[in-house]
Structures are given as C-alpha cells and as structure tokens.
C-alpha cells in the first residue's frame, strides 16, 4: 500500500484508537464477533453455550460489535491481532476481504456433514476465486407476500406463475379506489432481482467481468414496465413505505418483500408467504438475490494450529444442525439448514423463504459488484418512466459501470509534490517568522501566556476534530482508491473532474453541470427562504409580542423534527398516486404531476421541501432584527411622506441588513451542502440531473466503485467554492460594518 507517510501515520492512529477499545480480560482460545441484536443475539449466546458444553477445552469470548463500525474494525483489527478469530457477516464482502487477506480459506472436507445439509446455491455464495471462505448460517431474500383474506375474496390460490400473478393482480386492481394488485419498490433493483434473473438476466460475462447490457437483461425491465404502464396493476412512484402501507391496510393483494417484513406487519394482518412465481415467458423460477449470513474464520486464527483448529470447530458448530435449530427456534432466523428450518417460529413463512433462497441468486461477492446498483437503478427508472427503452438504458448503465470501474489514474511519484509542498511550508514559515519579528509577536505572546492557556483546550479540540480530519480528507484527494489500495496520483483526480474527462460538459454527472444545478438550487432556496421569512416576519411583527409563545411552538416543532424525516414526509407528499399534493390537484380538477419524472418538477419538489425547512430560520432572524428597529423610525418616515413600500425599501430593509447578511451567508452554505433533501426527496433523479455537488461526492465514494480519492477531490472543490463565496461576502460585510 503506497500512501503518503504523514497521512498513513494519521490513519494508523485513528485505526488504533478504534480497535484498542476491545481489550480482552483473559486469554480466550477463540474470539467471536457478531452484529446481532435482540433474539438473534440471545440465540447465538445459547449456541456458544451449547458449543462449550460439547468442547469444554475451548474458551469462547462473544463480542457484539455495532453494525456501523463492524467492517472498519474488522479490516483494521485483524491484521494487528485485535480482531476476531471467527465472525458472522453477510457473504457479499467475502471477495474484498479474501483479497485483503482478512479471511482464512476453509477446507470443505472438514465441514462435509454441515455442507450436505445446506442447499448448493447457498454454499456457492460463500465461494470466491475457487475457494470456500465461509459456512452459510442464514439467508435473506425476497418472496411473495399475499393477503390471504383478499385472495379468499377472489376465490383464488397463491399464484404459481407470473401469468397467474398478473391475472389476479388485474382482477384486484381498482386504481380509482386506491387498490393495486402488486406493490414493492419497483425502481429498486434489489426487489427487482427476482424477475431479472428469472427472465434470464445476467450481471457478468462468462469470465466473470461485470456487464449490464446482455441482451436478455432487458426482458424483465420490459415486464415490469408493462405491469406499471400498460396493465397498471402497480402504483406509480411505489416505494417501500407506500408498498408497506397499502399491503398492511389491505389495499394491495401481493407484495414482494423480505423476511424482515414479517416483523413489520401487525398481528391483525392476515397474510401468507410463497416463493416468487415462475416466469411464464421462460418457464424458469424467479430468482431473487440471496444474501447469505455466513460464519467466517479470520486469518488471525491461523496464528497457531491449535487456535485454527478451535476456530474451525466453532465455525462448523455454528453452521451445524444443533445450532440451526436454536437459531431458528429462539432467534427467528431463516436458517440455511433445510431440516432445521422446520422448527422456526413461523414455519410456513420460513419454509417459503428457505425455498425462495434455494431458487435464488447469491448476492455477488466480488468487490467491483458494489458499483452495479446505481447504474442498474437508473436504467430501471428510465425504463419504467418510458424515457428510454430497456435496451438503451442498459447500454448507458453499462457505460456508467465501466466509468465507475475504470482503472484509477496511473500512480505518479509523490516526490515533486512533496518538494513543492515542502517549499511552500518553508516559505510560509519564513514569512511567519519575519512577520512575528516585525510585530514582536513572540514578545506579545509571552505577555499573554495565560490567555493562550485558556484558548488551548478549544484550539486543540478544533484542531483534532476539524483541521486534522480536513487535512487527511484533503490529502486523500491526491490518491486513488481501488479495492483497498491507495495509490498516489497527484492532481489527476482534480484534472479529471475539472476537464470533465469522464463525461461531456453537459452530462448530468459532469462537475460543471452539477455545479450549475447546485448554484441554481442554492440561489432558489435562499431567495425563497429570505423573501418568505421576511414577509412572514413583517406580517407577524405586531402580534409577535402578544402571541410569542404560540409562534415559538409553531416554529420549533418543524425544527425539532429531524430534517430527514421532513424530507421523507415531503417525498411521500409528492408521490404520484398517493401524495397529498397530487390529491389536491385532482380535487381541483387539475392533472396530477409526475413530480420526479422531469428535471424541472423534481427540482421544484426539492426546493419546496427545503424552503419549508429553511424559511423559519430567516423568519426568526428577521423577527428578532425587526424588534430592534425602533418604531419611531418608521413613524418618522411615514410623517416624512414615505409610502409603505418606500418605508420598507429605504428604512426597514437597510436596517435589517446587518442581521440578514450573515444569515444569508450561513443559509447559503447550509443549502449548498444540503445533502439530506436531495438524497431523500428526488434522490438525484431523474438521471442524476438534480444531484448537487455533495450528493455527487457521496455517490462517487459509496455508490460508484468506492472512488474515495475522486470523492475527496469533489469535497476539496466544494470547500474551495464556499471559501471563495464567504471570503467575497465577508469582504463586503466588513466594509458595510465600518460605514454602517
């Protein structure tokens, strides 16, 4: 791993800080990590007790690790001997971890008994590069939920084929009454995967290279587009929340969902679960993604033959039949072991999920597969909206994927950069020394030593919490990341972004397009926030004193609601079929608007949501500032002969400026980086055209092939834009303050 020495040292520091917290009391033989909670965690502890009774010579320490920190702690802990010997995790990271040397490959012959009880496809999910890296423990996949009461009313049985499904759904659907035959997040490829693989879709070439535009891939897209746009048995804009609500209140006949949905449905909802129906067109079973929870042995266990033996024994036991029964009975898991599944708490549902998993497609575990989601979701969205044919959309998606997986810029020698950086440092130091000599800075520092002592805690804290991460993040922008490896590439990331090398200038994902959208987004919001806030402040000004309490509550309630919740509420208000905004439009006799299908309406929806969040701040600032303007001034202006507008324009507004300008600067910076609204309301759609710089940066880091360096360069550019903006406005502010 090539990495600048200072940055590497800092990263190591953070990594150590993250892992030393898990110190051990005694020296156990095997350390077991898991991220379970509740019943699943209790069941696992019981499994370990059972293991220790059987093998009293082995001491096991069970360490629950929070899910969010799990992967990071693992990758930093195992190489230093601070990690687990055995751990539980979904199989989708196996490829990356095997490549990084975190895992110890298993010997299949040692686990023959266990493997024989498991469906072959599930075991295959734990293979990578011809080796077996884990033992399947439980599966998560999607299946078909049906309302048994509604099915009885139709006098029908659960569908065996998609033709049956479509026919039943069409019989049940009554769009005017808000009843739909089939509900699930149609634009989410995860939920779509059952149809995709059932229709013969494939995500890679014969040699395993990811590829999205195989000819058979378009079939399932067309199938769902037909359900949505022609047969209309699926509501438009159906997301997870809409699907859940419709199914729970009996306004949907079928839902595609996973085992977690069992816990989300109330006891009063009569339902059943069956595997997704066979695809009539191909006469093959639907084959949804299967995530396989597996037990893995880390490379740390290989420190001694005894430790490795104990770890292997534990892993085998956890995947084995006795453990499976406990986990199914006590933990409610959909266990991989087919016989043990019969003892589950909800045997029928568990069996259905088990069967679905057997027919399913293991979630790909190759590291590059993390980049497939965004292109596939976008292609699916385009097809369902009818803006592209499925074939064309998939060709674009493949191109997007290639870009995301493109090899990083070639590594360059950091030497010129280090020399330049060193020269800059020396020059800056020289300048600082000269200046401090001239202004006798040192002497003055000595006289106010106590003052420096007082500021020290704050200075150190902001240094550690703000400047250090900033420097690490900024220096990251000089590196490229590929599969756990960072290589120094100099300004290549910046050049790629600023020269729009990956896209044309006008492509929605180019930096300049996004910058224009971001500026338009910021300007529209700030103008609306200030004008609405100011107008309301002027209107409420007289009653403010009397009704202060009421207004405060009204204002603080929206503020107290976390903004992502507000964003989700507004997103559902903009829903095409069930949103209240289209409801009002229909009631008024207007045509409902498909808000997220066009740039203009999606942008407007984002702006409306953020205006709702933003105007109270400007209103409170304006109200406060208005209170400080003596009424005499306006009376004097009125007597002087100024009209209402002249009084506002010449008296009130100039006097509000000192309070408003900082608020506007602050509001601009907040809005410029308002990630939550864009990400949650329009999701950047359609076609990433409403994404702003910060959401683009996020996507480059986490949704498009983990290009951390590229994303960090975005971050540095965002910082630069805001720095210039605040610098320019503070210059103006300073002149304003001095004259007045």
């Amino acid at each position: 791993m090539r990495f600048g020495r200072p940055a590497a040292a800092l990263l190591a520091l953070f990594a150590l800080a993250g892992t030393t917290g898990c110190g051990r009391v005694a020296e156990p033989d095997v350390v077991l990590w898991h991220a379970y909670r509740g019943a699943e965690a209790e069941a696992l502890v019981e499994v370990v007790h059972a293991f220790e009774e059987r093998h009293p010579e082995v001491v096991v320490e069970v360490v629950p690790v929070p899910y969010q920190a799990y992967a990071n702690k693992l990758t930093s802990g195992v190489p230093r001997g601070n990690g687990p010997d055995v751990f539980l995790f979904a199989q989708e990271r196996i490829g990356a971890w095997a490549d990084a040397g975190i895992l110890h490959a298993l010997e299949p012959t040692q686990h023959r008994a266990v493997l024989e009880a498991l469906p072959g496809g599930v075991v295959d999910a734990c293979r990578y590069d011809g080796e077996l890296w884990g033992l399947p423990v439980a599966t998560k996949t999607t299946a078909l939920f049906y309302r048994s009461d509604r099915l009885d009313e139709l006098g029908a049985e659960p569908p065996e084929t998609t033709d049956d499904l479509v026919a039943l759904a069409a019989r049940f659907t009554d769009a005017s009454a808000g009843r739909f035959g089939l509900v699930y997040p149609v634009g989410d490829f995860y939920f779509h995967s059952g149809w995709f693989f059932g229709f013969g879709g494939t995500l890679s070439d014969a040699d395993g290279t990811p590829r999205l535009d195989a000819p058979s891939n378009a079939n399932s897209f067309a199938f769902v587009a037909d359900l949505l746009n022609e047969r209309r048995v699926v509501p438009r804009d159906c997301d997870y929340g809409v699907a859940k609500d419709l199914f729970a209140r009996g306004d949907a006949l079928f839902a595609v969902n996973g085992p977690w949905f069992l816990g989300e449905l109330g006891d009063d909802v009569p339902f059943g679960v069956v595997p997704l129906p066979r695809i009539s067109a191909t006469n093959t079973p639907a084959s949804p993604f299967v995530t396989v929870e597996s037990v893995l042995v880390s490379s740390q266990a290989a420190r001694s033959p005894e430790a490795l033996a104990a770890a292997t024994l534990l892993a085998d036991f956890i995947a084995g039949p006795e453990s499976s029964v406990i986990r199914a009975e006590r933990g409610g898991q959909v266990v991989a072991d087919r016989t043990a599944a019969l003892s589950a708490r909800e045997p029928a549902a568990s069996a259905a999920f088990g069967a679905a998993a057997a027919a399913g497609t293991p979630m790909p575990n190759a590291p590059e597969m993390t980049a497939i989601w965004e292109p596939l979701n976008r292609a699916l969205d385009q097809t369902l909206r009818g803006s592209r044919t499925a074939e064309a959309a998939l060709v674009d998606a493949d191109a997007d994927l290639r870009r995301a997986l493109a090899p990083p810029p070639p590594p360059t020698s950091p030497l010129p950069y280090e020399v330049a950086f060193g020269l800059v440092l020396v020059a800056a130091a020289g300048l600082a020394v000269r200046r401090s000599r001239r202004t006798a800075l040192l002497a003055r520092m000595r006289t106010s030593r106590l003052a420096y002592l007082y500021v020290a805690p704050a200075a150190i804290a902001s240094g550690l919490l703000i400047f250090l991460p900033f420097i690490v993040g900024a220096s990251l922008s000089l590196y490229a990341h590929e599969q756990g490896e960072f290589s120094f590439v100099g300004f290549a990331n910046f050049l790629n972004i600023l020269l729009a090398r990956d896209f044309g200038l006008t492509h929605p994902q180019s930096f300049y397009f996004t910058l224009v959208v971001t500026v338009a987004w910021t300007a529209a919001n700030v103008v609306l926030h200030v004008s609405i806030g100011l107008a309301l402040a002027l209107a409420l000004r007289d009653s403010w004193v009397r009704l202060r309490g009421v207004y405060r509550v009204l204002l603080i309630v929206p503020w107290a609601v976390p903004n992502y919740i507000t964003a989700l509420i507004w997103k559902s208000m903009f829903n095409f079929s069930f949103g209240s905004i289209n409801g009002v439009l229909r009631w008024l006799g207007a045509t409902p608007v498909d808000w997220f299908s066009k740039w203009s309406t999606a942008f407007a929806a984002n702006v409306a949501t953020n205006t709702w969040l933003g105007f109270p701040f400007m209103m409170v600032v304006s109200l406060g500032a208005l209170q400080s303007i003596p009424r005499d001034l306006e009376d004097a202006a009125e007597v002087d002969g100024a009209s209402r507008w002249q009084r506002f324009r010449h008296i009130t507004l100039p006097l509000l400026r000192p309070a408003l300008v900082p608020a506007v600067v602050l509001g601009t910076v907040w809005t410029f980086n308002m990630f939550n609204i864009i990400y949650l309301v329009s999701g950047g759609g359609p076609d990433a055209s409403t994404d702003i710089l910060i959401t683009e940066a996020y996507r480059w880091a986490f949704e498009r092939g983990e290009r951390y360096g590229y994303a960090a360069a975005y971050g540095v550019l965002i910082f630069g834009v805001l720095l210039i903006y605040t610098w320019a406005t503070s210059g103006r502010r300073a002149t304003e303050l001095t004259d007045g």
């Binding site: 004097a636 009125e638 007597v639 002969g641 006097l655 007045g740």
Partner: protein, 364 residues
C-alpha cells in the same frame, strides 16, 4: 401656516380610554404646549394630529380641512420625536432630504432646501455625518432640521428636549423660541416639564387623565388655576393646601384665619368646606410676634443662600414657604412661626369637585 382644531376627540386602546373628549382650537402661528404627567394622553393626542393614530371618535381639522382620513404624508405637518428618530444608515443630508426625496422632489431642490434649513440651525458642518457620529444636542438640531426642510404648516414636537442634559435643554429652549418667532409656524409641543411649558408656550393646554383641565396663557394658568390640579401642577415648589372652612367671610383652619375677598368669589358660593391654597412665595414672615393669619411649626429649613425654603406644619398639612434669607435667620426647627398672606394671593377651591372659587378679575 394653518390653524388646528380638535373637537370631541376620543381615543380608546381596547378597554383603555386614553383621550376623553378633547376640544381645542389652536390659532394660526400659535405655539401651544400640551403638558401633563406621563400617561395623561398628550402624546396620543399629538400622534392623532400627526395621523399616526386614528381617533376613535371626534374630528381633527388642520387649516380648516378635516384630516381624520388623510394620511400623515398629506397632512403637511412635520414631527420631531423624543428619540429624534434619525435614520441611522443615512447621513444628515440624506436624513433631512428624505421627506422631499420620497415625495419625488428633484435633487437640486432638495439640496437647496437642506442647505437652507442647515444654515438656520447652524448644522452645515454636520451634513455629511451619520447620526452615531454626533452628540445628543447635534442630533436634536438635525431632527429639527429634518422637520424644517419641508416647510410644513404645522410643527409637532414630542418631548424633544427630554433626552438632553439640563444646560443643553435650557439653550435649546431659547433656540426653539427664537426659531418660532422667526418662522411663525403653528406649533404643537408636548412635554411633561412645566418649565418648558411656561417658558415656551403662547398658550398651555394642561391634560390629566385624557381630559383638558385648563387652556390659557402661562400666566393665566399660574395665577388663576381653574382647579386644584392645575394649581398643584404648575409652580415649584407647588402650591400649599390645607382643608379649611368658609364661614362669615373668612376662611378658617387650625392655625389659619384669612379674610375672603368677596369681589373675587364666584357667584353662588356658600359657606362650607373648602381648600385654601397659598403659593410658597406668597407667605410673609411676621417678625416680632405680630399677630399673623397663619400659625405654623417649623419642620426643616433649607437655606439656599438668597432665600430659605422652610418646611412647615400647618395643622395636619405640610407647607413650604420661601422666606428672605435674612428674615429666616431667626427661625429654628421645632419653633413656632407666624406668617401672613395677602388675602388676594390666597386661592380657594371647592372641597367636593376641587374647582376654583376665585375668579380672575375682569379687565378694569
């Protein structure tokens, strides 16, 4: 120039009845001072004149035109506020020119008017300053200058001097008087300060609880107060009172025996309970034990140098007398003292409604 007249003006804020039926005629070019203690409704009355408040009932006329429904900008008035209300973000020049500017006057016209007014008020050197760069007195002048620029028919002043220190206030009083003499513009001036009222006014209107108690020249109000409130309000120290009995052409109280001046007595006045009031400087010290009209006990002596204020007990009442310093030298606290009062200097008020029982003699 214009006359101002109010008739039957009432103002209510919710349940509070602030101005209760004011009738007032102000002549063209007159300097009228509205005086009263705080909360008496004088500022509200002025704001109604300006058009910043609407009367609940009654009518207000400026120059013979009823202006109840006329906006402030069309009333042709100018107002000077207690806080000066200078626009803090504008220079003096902009402040003074603002009224003309918003009325669409041309720049040269504005400049000329501002320059004129600035010369009159001697603030030419301040024209490019902002309000925060000036002293209180300078701001006061600018506020007056702003009122002057538009050459209004009526000036309204709302306690314009109360934010100044005492010596500056004295100077500005003189200046205001000079200015009014020069310009001769009808002026309505609100104050709580009786000295300003006495010194500035052509006529004073004294308000209490939203009702005009008396209107007249300062001398009329001082010499012939229409009721005990007016008598008490004007003069410092205030008029002394004691509850007395009018009987057989004399006024009696413990230690008091003063003959009534029959020719001053209002018609139909009968014997009975009254207040007798005497201004402090009307009390004469009777030296040498001569029989006096008023017997009192000395409480506290305050020598001022040229005179001595003696705080006395007359019966149950506390009085103040202003004696010549030499005469008062013999007085000692707790000692008895005899005073006299010229019968024409004493004032009588009815005990029930406190109206004055003596009337000013007609011009003879």
């Amino acid at each position: 120039m214009a006359s101002v007249s109010l008739s039957g003006v009432h103002k209510r804020f919710g349940d509070t009845h602030v101005v209760r039926g004011v009738d007032l005629d102000i002549a063209d070019g007159e300097f009228l001072v509205l005086v009263g203690s705080s909360g008496c409704g004088k500022s509200t009355l002025l704001r109604m004149l300006a058009g910043l408040e609407q009367p609940s009932s009654g009518s207000i006329a400026i120059g013979g035109r009823v202006v109840n429904d006329v906006a402030p900008r069309d009333r042709d008035i100018a107002m000077v506020f207690q806080s000066y209300a200078l626009y803090p973000h504008m220079t003096v020049r902009e402040n003074m020119g603002f009224g003309l500017k918003v009325r669409g006057a041309a720049a040269p016209e504005i400049d000329a008017a501002v320059a004129d007014a600035a010369r009159v008020l001697d603030i030419v050197h301040l024209l490019d300053r902002k309000p925060k760069e000036m002293s209180g007195g300078q701001r006061q002048r600018v506020a007056m200058g702003r009122a002057l620029v538009r050459k209004p028919k009526v000036f309204l002043f709302d306690e314009p001097l109360s934010n100044l220190d005492a010596s500056l206030r004295g100077q500005m009083r003189v200046e205001l008087k000079r200015l009014h003499a020069k310009l001769g513009v009808t002026t309505v001036y609100v104050t709580h300060d009786q000295v300003e009222a006495m010194t500035l006014a052509d006529r004073i209107a004294l308000l209490d609880k939203g009702v005009v108690q008396q209107v007249g020249t300062p001398a009329e109000l001082y010499d012939w107060p229409a009721n005990r409130f007016t008598a008490r309000f004007l003069g410092s120290p205030g008029m002394n009172f004691v509850e007395a009995e009018l009987r057989d052409g004399r006024v009696f109280a413990p230690g008091v025996d003063v003959p009534v001046v029959a020719e001053l007595l209002a018609e139909g006045t009968t014997d009975g309970p009254v207040w007798i009031g005497v201004r402090p400087h009307d009390l004469r010290l009777e030296v040498g034990g001569a029989a006096g009209a008023i017997e009192a006990e000395v409480d506290v002596l305050e020598p001022m140098g040229w005179e001595t204020h003696a705080h006395l007990r007359v019966g149950d009442a506390r009085w103040t007398a202003r004696f010549d310093a030499a005469d008062a030298a013999s007085l000692t606290p707790r000692g008895r003292v005899r005073c006299s009062v010229a019968p024409r200097s004493a004032r009588l008020f009815a005990r029930d409604d406190e109206r004055a029982l003596y009337r000013a003699p007609g011009p003879t």
